[in-house]
Symmetry: C2
Subunit: 229 residues, 2 copies
C-alpha cells in the first residue's frame, strides 16, 4: 500500500481561512480596497501604516473586524503580508521590517511607474522588479507578487459585489504561491492564476501602465482575465 | 450648421475589409495561424518569406485565397504588414525592407524572449521593445504593436471556431491603431483593445513569458481578456 499522497493538481489550493493577512500601506486606496475585499470574504485583516493612529482610523472606517497597527506590529502579527506601499517608499519600508517579515509569505503588489503628460510608463528597478527588490531585501521571507491589476476604485466600491479580474500570482516557491492564489480565490469573481517566477514579475507590474491607457480611452476600470484556464 | 464630424468613440473602428494584409514570417506557426484566421474572416492575405517558394508552399497549404511571395513583394503589395519573424531576425529583416514599408501600417507581434531550464524570460531590446526597434528602423512607417498573446496552436486549429482572446493594440497614431483594432475584430471571438503607446510595448511583449508559465502549469493555451471594456 502506497503512502504517497497524490500530487496536487494546479487547481488544488490550501485552506487559508484561518490566516491573518496584514497589509502594509493599508491606508492607501489599493490597500484599503484589498483589506475590504478580504475581510468581507471572512479573512482576518490588519492594516498597517507608519503610525498606528492612521491605521486604526482607516480600519475603523472599513469595519468588518479589520484592525489597525503600525507596520512593525502588522508584519509581526500576520501570516501573510501584502505590500501595497507607494513605490518610492518600497525599499525603505521593507528594509526596516526584515526581522518582522522573516518566515512570512510576503505578497508584493507594487507597480513601479512614472507619469508624464503622455500618461504612465514603466520604471525598471535595478533588481528587475519591485518583487525582486523585495526578495533581495528580505532573504528570509517567502516573497511572491500578486494583486497588480485590480482597480482600487472597484475594490473600494461597496456597491460592487464581484471583482471580475484574475490575479496573476508569481513566485519561486509553490507552497507560497498556492497560499496567495487561495487568498485571491476567496474574493467573489477573483481567481488566483499562477503566472511564473519572480524573474518575470517586471512585465506584470508594468502592465498597469497599459491598463491606465485602457481606462483613459474606454473610461473603464480595466482588469485582466486569463483565458483557457 | 456645423460641418464638424462627431469625434469617433473608442469603439468606432474603420472598415478594413478591402485592405491587403501581408505577414512577414508568414511560414512560422504564429504567422500561418494569423494568415489562416484573417483570410477565413474574408481578408486578402499574402504570406511573406525569405524565398517566394517557401511562402507559396505555405500559402497553398492554407488555401482561402492566401498567396505567397518573398518579403520584398509582400511588403510592397500590402496595406498592412504584420511582422511575425523570430526575434533574432527582427532587425535585419526590417532594415532590408525600409523602402517597401514606407507609408505602411506595420504591426509588430514579436516577443523577445530567452529560454533556459526554468522556462522563458524577457529580453530587453536596446530600443526598449521589439516594436520600438521597428519604429527606430522604419522612420517612414506607421508602426504599431499587437497580436502578442495568441496561441499559435489555437490559431492554426481548424476545429477551433472562435479565438477567445483580446488583442492589445499599441501605437502612437490613433488612425493606425484603429485599423489594427478593426483587423483584430474581424476574427470571431477576438477584439482589438487600444492599450497604450509604443513606449509601453515591452511589458506587453514580455508577458508572453508569463503565459508560457500559465500554459505549463495548467496545460492550457492561455490568452488574455481585458475586463470592463
Amino acid at each position: 500500500m502506497s503512502t504517497t499522497a497524490p500530487k496536487p493538481g494546479p487547481h488544488d489550493l490550501p485552506d487559508v481561512s484561518a490566516l491573518v493577512v496584514g497589509i502594509l500601506g493599508g491606508t492607501g486606496p489599493q490597500g484599503k480596497g484589498l483589506a475590504y475585499r478580504l475581510a468581507k470574504a471572512g479573512q482576518q485583516v490588519v492594516i498597517g501604516s507608519r503610525t498606528a493612529d492612521r491605521a486604526e482610523t482607516a480600519a475603523a472606517e472599513l469595519g468588518l473586524g479589520i484592525w489597525g497597527a503600525d507596520n512593525q506590529a502588522t508584519a509581526r502579527d500576520s501570516d501573510v503580508v501584502i505590500v501595497a506601499v507607494p513605490w518610492d517608499g518600497h525599499a525603505a519600508t521593507l528594509e526596516a521590517l526584515r526581522t518582522e517579515l522573516a518566515g512570512k509569505i510576503v505578497v508584493d503588489c507594487v507597480n513601479p511607474l512614472g507619469f508624464d503628460k503622455e500618461g504612465a510608463y514603466s520604471l525598471k528597478p535595478a533588481e528587475g522588479s519591485a518583487a525582486e527588490q523585495a526578495a533581495a531585501l528580505l532573504p528570509d521571507s517567502r516573497v511572491t507578487a500578486a494583486f497588480h491589476h485590480l482597480s482600487a476604485v472597484l475594490l473600494q466600491d461597496q456597491g460592487v459585489e464581484a471583482i471580475d479580474t484574475d490575479v496573476m500570482v508569481l513566485g519561486d516557491e509553490r507552497a507560497a504561491t498556492d497560499v496567495v492564489q487561495a487568498l485571491a480565490a476567496r474574493v467573489p469573481g477573483m481567481r488566483g492564476v499562477y503566472s511564473g517566477r519572480l524573474r518575470n514579475a517586471h512585465q506584470v507590474e508594468s502592465l498597469v501602465a497599459n491598463l491606465i491607457s485602457v481606462n483613459r480611452r474606454y473610461k473603464a476600470h480595466a482588469g485582466l482575465r486569463v483565458t483557457d484556464v
